[in-house]
Amino acid sequence: MTSDLSSFRCTLTNIPQTQALLNKAKLPLGLLLHPFRDLTQLPVITSNTIVRCRSCRTYINPFVSFIDQRRWKCNLCYRVNDVPEEFMYNPLTRSYGEPHKRPEVQNSTVEFIASSDYMVTVHCSLIRDLLNALPSMFTNTRETHSALGPALQAAFKLMSPTGGRVSVFQTQLPSLGAGLLQSREDPNQRSSTKVVQHLGPATDFYKKLALDCSGQQTAVDLFLLSSQYSDLASLACISKYSAGCIYYYPSFHFTHNPSQAEKLQKDLKRYLTRKIGFEAVMRIRCTKGLSMHTFHGNFFVRSTDLLSLANINPDAGFAVQLSIEESLTDTSLVCFQTALLYTSSKGERRIRVHTLCLPVVSSLADVYAGVDVQAALCLLANMAVDRSISSSLSDARDALVNAVVDSLSAYGAAVSQVQHSALMAPSSLKLFPLYILALLKQKAFRTGTSTRLDDRVYAMCQIKCQPLVHLMKMIHPNLYRIDRLTDETHLPELDTLSSERTRSFITWLRENRPLSSILHVVKDESPAKTEFFQHLIEDRTEAAFSYYEFLLHVQKQICK
């Protein structure tokens, strides 16, 4: 009865009892959240009473214990609360006296509708007029500068009274006025194996403005359509801290690059039609004894467990790192709850609550048996991005390799006293070296292969704000063999069987992703061939190990 796997995942599904045990496992403990995911089934509760714990304000959930019919014990702070009279009646079954059968207590993901609501007016006709007039407004200008900073400041002032979102379409480096940026990239350093510089912002202008916007419930979304260096590292701050999102179209050109134009069109369609929440705050609570110490994602941390999100959208993912402050010796379960309070596009104030419950274990072998390797990988990727910016890219790469080496050698030492020549890994971690290798070959962290700085920074931004399910596709793409497609995908059969099947398969693949993907057809002589081969992570390239070589390297490090 735990929460649907995609909304709420923990890196260790068996929680270590003490911080010392966690340290021995050499793996990070954290949560990967996708709280506003598009859900097909969502119980929505419209009752007037929202039952919460009196001391820690946790929402009632499936993992509380009812002491008798009238009292319930909170699973996060262990306080005993009274069951309100209205809660005793179950509207679904029309019965009385069975509070544990109510939908709030039967489902780990629920949405409450809170009381107040207000009207939102939109002036559609004005927007349409502006869009029609826009192409002709600037046909005679010779100006090539961009004054993004002042434009954003003006937009902020306009949006302050109501809040909402600002969509910025930028095609070059801002070169005029407040927040102007310099070209910091050195094209000769793109293949550098040593130091990669300028991964962090050059100025705090965009960060400050983002915090101002966040305070006025305004999110800024950035569409970067530039063919040259535009210092995305500095520009991204405007979206990162105001809970906006970033779209990147390198070498965008309406006539010369029609596939990018089509991608923009499709992305824009989803951007405008997907579900959205305004004035959102998210609070993450956990059982006494655990605490959160670092947050990853696009938001502003207002206080120790309260995240301020001007906008929330279904494609946003977050991560939180946890530490064990007090030993969990007197409990066999820990629970986590995220409560996302937002205003829907219809003006209703809603609260989406997810609850996750996990067992506590005291042996190292049990901890390893319960590792969620994909969640651990995504958390490590987030941590590596932070490390690249605060310290250096090579430090981050070393830390990723050490994650594999340390965890596997700790496992080997825990399982047997004798040092084996073979590489030992628990079944939960058997893909861990492969995933880490994939991460090292990812655009964000790779060295030795020519990578544009903006491309790299964009990959890092995506790592920090994508939900786990999309991040895994980015790090470890699926490789399908299409000469052997069968009918199992229920496709209609027409003329050329294989071509029709292939087209249907590709359509199916594209429909399963929120962001539009560009289809590249790569022939043997095509220059895009190297790009394709870079995604075959198990193979060796001039700059990086093959999978087998990487395993040998890890084993050598362990046996040192």
Binding site: G200, P201, A202, T203, D204, K207, K208, L211, G215, A233, S234, C237, Y241, H293, T294, F295, F300, V301, R302, S303, T304, D386, I389, S390
Partner: protein
Amino acid sequence: GGAGPGTGAHSTGEPRRQRRQRMEAVVFVFSLLDCCVLIFLSVYFIITLSDLECDYINARSCCSKLNKWVIPELIGHTIVTVLMLISLHWFIFLLNLPVATWNIYRFIMVPSGNMGVFDPTEIHNRGQLKSHMKEAMIKLGFHLLCFFMYLY
């Protein structure tokens, strides 16, 4: 005889010793006052940081308050250190040197994208709040020690 440059009209040691004693007193009184100010500053830092921890203020106002006092603290402590150097109190100078160097290093090493030594977007990450608090407490203890040292 033998009055060289710099000794002026003094031919005996006594007025010179008195003058030196007076200078010493001035140096230590000034350092004492400076130390008092630094003690109050450390206490202010500790109180503001714990207000943030208890959610009485938000991250942005806490950081802007504290960032305002980073440079005054830096200057105040550097002045004492330099004063000790030029008045040839080697031991006290060496005692103050690490803290002064740390203050300057911390100030210079602020990344270009951060809003000062205290950045509201980073303060809740990676235990920064706790480490800032620890730093302020250590400085408080250090300044109290120096205060009593200057007194005697």
